[in-house]
Amino acid sequence: MSDPYQDNRGNKDASITNPHGRGTMSAGTASGERSRTQDAYLIGDSMTGGYGQGPDILHDCTIAVNKGEIAVIVGPNGAGKSTGMKAVFGMLNLRKGAVRLDGEDITALSPQDRVVKGMGFVPQTSNIFTSMTVEENLEMGAFIRRDDFRKTIEQVYELFPILGDKRRQAAGELSGGQRQQVAVGRALMTQPKVLMLDEPTAGVSPIVMDELFDRIIEVSRTGIPILMVEQNARQALEIADKGYVLVQGRNAHTGTGKELLADDEVRRSFLGG
């Protein structure tokens, strides 16, 4: 390893260094040209870039979501689905392309500034504060708000009734599905203008998955546009207003969920016939 600061020098002693919960995120930079192709509420427009100084993972990839819609990114493993999502959220070094929210260019903003601008993001893993109670998780979600957020907490409890019952319990003690609900609830606390979910159903049982999809549709009915990455392509496309099939970091197919489900090639390549 060439970076001396990233070398652990063989240390595995957790009594002197705390490996738990360390940050891995860093803000990406956006250099290079920007192009304007279409107007959507949130759009990652012809994005090209990769992590750090590494090779490009996304190539001219466009992802957009309109008001009141659910947009779903599907694709085979390693297609750059999560990477595309992270690019929209500013965790990637974009060498080309732009990200716009409500017509405003936010390409150069850091992820935390995008949260302030009204983007809610639920990462795929470590998306809750495990040692804190459900209610504290929601309070931390509302950290940037200085007004009274009691009402928003009540709204989240209405949306996810199980969280209301377990509000005093440590979030780390909940089941997988409930944890995902805490994670989505936490992101909703900022009253985001758009919600981004990175594989919300990863690692939960099929029954819980159905319930989570129902909840996501309910969230979407409250008027929040949702952009999500999904492994379960068929189910996701069924609820999607718009679907993006990515292959090797490129837009392979784009259309409404129904169109993609009906498309022979998409069916054969990604949905198993």
Binding site: Q6, P19, G23, M25, P111, Q112, P123, I128, E136
Partner: protein, 336 residues
């Protein structure tokens, strides 16, 4: 009567001193555990941070004494404490700016912070000795005893006396107040919760709009306060000597790890476990056994299990036992 005498002797030589020493260790271990939990490294400079805070407080105390300010029966050092805390807070924030921030920006591995803190330790060590010297300093004033051994004997008619020093009572009282405030702060306030959130999951804290630099700043300030209070209480109870404070690092780390690193409750429990073990094992049990056992069985020797010179060994034996059988510490801390 013999049993009462034994009880009083035990209280006088073991329970009361260990309670005071345990409170001091607990406050020190709380600082260590906060740094470990939030900044994610073991701060080897903690003992010398305590020494610096105590030194600042002593200087302020001397200034107050020469200006004729006193705190009645209580030590003047308690009045000077806020000044010491402020000075230590500034020192820690300055150190963070100068040293740790550089590595934080680079997202360096925690082990690099550990080694950096070792360097900081030597620098602080030097600063303290340069300013106040290497000798013992006494700075306790005010009433010395709450109850003297003689008063206790005349009061109760027992053979054994129980002396309670003012500083011991102050130590325990201050420790209780400080711990209560700290727990209230961590569990009830917005800033305290944001510190716990940052400790739990740095990325998600960032996504929630928590400013990491702000969290780090509050952590250092709180740690500065805890270290100064722990150091001043220790100095009042015993005496101030830079080298002793450097050595305090060992029992403090033992306390934090025994209790469970990263767990504030554990740090307090660990402090008392270490203190009671140290004092009990290095105390000559001859008198106690003399009261409790029939004359024929009374021991000839001192029945001191370990000489006080070996008291640090006690911390480490406990540390090893706990790590062997309960690697997360007594309270659910981080597994080490």
């Amino acid at each position: 009567m013999d049993f009462l005498n034994a009880l009083v002797a035990l209280a006088n030589f073991v329970i009361v001193p260990a309670l005071a020493y345990g409170s001091q260790l607990a406050l020190g271990a709380l600082g260590v555990t906060l740094i470990y939990g939030i900044l994610r490294f073991s701060n080897f400079a903690h003992g010398d941070t305590m020494a610096f805070g105590t030194m600042a407080t002593i200087l302020a105390t001397w200034a107050m004494q020469s200006a004729g300010i006193s705190f009645g029966v209580l030590p003047t050092a308690l009045l000077a404490l806020p000044i010491g805390i402020a000075a230590t807070g500034l020192l820690l924030l300055g150190t963070d700016r100068l040293v740790y921030k550089f590595y934080r920006v680079k997202k360096a591995k925690p082990v690099i912070f550990v080694i950096a803190s070792l360097g900081v330790m030597f620098v602080m060590n030097g600063i303290v000795r340069f300013i106040i010297g290497v000798d013992d300093q006494q700075f306790a004033d005010g009433e010395r005893f709450l109850i003297t051994a003689r008063d206790f004997r005349t009061m109760t008619g027992l053979e054994e006396g129980l002396a309670i020093k003012t500083t011991q009572v102050i130590t325990v009282a201050v420790a209780i107040i400080v711990v209560a405030i700290l727990f209230w702060f961590l569990n009830k306030t917005r800033t305290g919760k944001s510190m716990r959130a940052y400790s739990d999951n740095e990325d998600l804290a960032l996504l929630s709009g928590i400013n990491p630099e702000r969290v780090v700043m509050y952590t250092w300030l709180i740690v500065g306060g805890l270290a100064t209070i722990a150091g001043v209480l220790y100095g009042l109870d015993k005496s101030f000597k830079p080298f002793t404070y450097f050595q305090l690092l060992l029992p403090i780390f033992a306390a934090a790890i025994v209790g469970g690193l990263g767990s504030p409750v554990g740090a307090i429990a660990g402090g008392f476990v270490i203190a009671f073990a140290e004092v009990t094992i290095t105390y000559p049990l001859k008198k106690l056994l003399g009261y409790l056992l029939p004359d024929s069985l009374a021991p000839d020797g001192l029945v001191q299990l370990l000489s006080t010179d070996y008291k640090f060994a006690v911390s480490f034996v406990i540390l090893i036992i706990v790590l062997l059988f309960r690697p997360t510490g007594l309270f659910k801390g981080k597994s080490v």
